[in-house]
């Protein structure tokens, strides 16, 4: 005779229309070896409590929708397995450092503004058209930026970063990693335009290399590396500005 195993999920609930502050609600979820935490949440929504609200889409760690705090660690719920969380109870909360809209769904608008601010597109001195033909890159040139292009904007790094939590103005790991992705791309000529974002106290200098961002990143982007490499670039830029004040094109 087989007994169904179950695990307890304690989910942080918050209904903006009814609640003053969030509270934990406990659910028992029967699980199998192959079930992800996302499937656990879906079980709750389908069979126990239809009001539980959470974002998800691809269920394969590529869309970046399903981020949540799992026992205090930011993880993708589709990428986290219930078998690894036994015996439980498992505390499931919305990503920290972001305002909660409802239950496990957060307000990402601050991040979206920061994403825009880093100019995340190829900038060339002269506009390019298809008539100019294809750009050519060697494997080494692609290697320079490729890992930083893997970001799925899941915001686990922002939830991990205490500097972002303490100072919401910090541009943050993912945005700065994407900035570095474009600076490191051989096709891009827009480094000077992005310098202002890098050099600011809310740019790379807001980072104290806690390093948890790179640990929790599900795609291996390593934002800590992207940011801290640019501290050297920022220092060089500062030095060059002091020596040749009119030497740089103003952004």
């Amino acid at each position: 005779m087989t007994t169904t195993r179950s695990i307890t999920l304690e989910c942080l609930r918050y209904n903006p229309e009814q609640d003053v502050e969030p509270h934990l609600q406990t659910y028992d979820v029967p699980y199998t070896e192959d079930m992800s935490l996302l499937q656990g949440l879906q079980y709750i929504k389908d069979h126990v409590d239809g009001s539980l609200t959470f974002r998800w889409s691809c269920r394969m760690a590529i869309c970046g929708s399903c981020g949540a705090m799992v026992n205090g660690v930011p993880m993708l719920s589709c990428h986290t397995f219930l078998r690894d969380l036994v015996p439980g109870p498992v505390r499931v909360e919305a990503l920290t450092h972001f305002p909660i809209v409802r239950d496990l769904a957060i307000d990402q608008s601050d991040f979206l503004h920061k994403l825009e601010s880093v100019k995340p597109y190829i900038i060339t001195d002269q506009p390019r058209t298809p008539a100019d033909g294809a750009s050519v890159q060697t494997p080494a040139q692609i290697d320079d930026y490729y890992q930083f292009s893997e970001c799925i904007n899941c915001l686990l790094c922002y939830a991990a970063c205490p500097q972002y939590g303490l100072n919401g103005k910090f541009t943050g790991p993912a945005a700065l990693a994407l900035l570095h992705r474009y600076n490191a791309d051989s096709r891009d000529e827009g480094k000077a335009e992005r310098m202002e974002v890098i050099n600011d106290e809310t740019g790379v200098w807001g980072c104290t290399l806690v390093g948890l961002c790179s640990e929790v990143c599900p795609k291996g982007v390593d934002p800590a590396r992207a940011i801290n490499q640019n501290k050297i670039n920022s220092t060089k830029d500062y030095f060059m500005r002091s020596v040749t004040p009119r030497g740089r094109r103003s952004p």
Binding site: P22, T96, I100, V101, V210, S214, Q229
Partner: protein, 132 residues
């Protein structure tokens, strides 16, 4: 339809949430010992400038029990400081290529720790020679 009233959780005692954060703050706290040791050395330099008697008095003070306790803690703290420093050093450097392949982070970490260790042994050897 108005925007929903969002809830922002306070940071509170954030470093207690994860062992990773505690280790990070411990790493940062070791700088207190780095500063303390640097000030002690600067003080010794100043005493050296005041003449042999002053310098010898400073050296004798280093052997006091309180000083030895400080040095014991400082040794542990600065060893941890150096270890964690080299742990993160690869993140601060651009990728280095050697014969077309990236130098692995672990190589940089080990290289840094080895250099620090050898330098420490060298200083210890030099200092040992001055013991009367």
């Amino acid at each position: 339809m108005s925007a929903p009233r969002t809830y922002t959780r306070p940071m509170g005692l954030w470093w207690q949430r994860l062992p990773f954060y505690r280790r990070y703050l411990l790493r940062e706290a070791t700088c207190a010992f780095v500063i303390g040791y640097a000030l002690m050395l600067l003080f010794g330099l100043w005493r050296l400038g005041q003449g042999r008697a002053a310098f010898e008095a400073w050296r004798a003070a280093l052997a006091a029990p309180a000083s030895l306790v400080f040095h014991a803690f400082a040794l542990v703290a600065i060893t941890f400081h150096a270890w964690t420093w080299f742990e993160v050093m690869p993140k601060t450097l651009p990728y280095i290529r050697w014969h077309g392949r990236r130098v692995a982070d672990s190589t940089i970490v080990r290289g840094g720790l080895l250099a620090a260790g050898l330098a420490s042994l060298l200083v210890l050897a030099l200092a040992w020679g001055t013991l009367t």
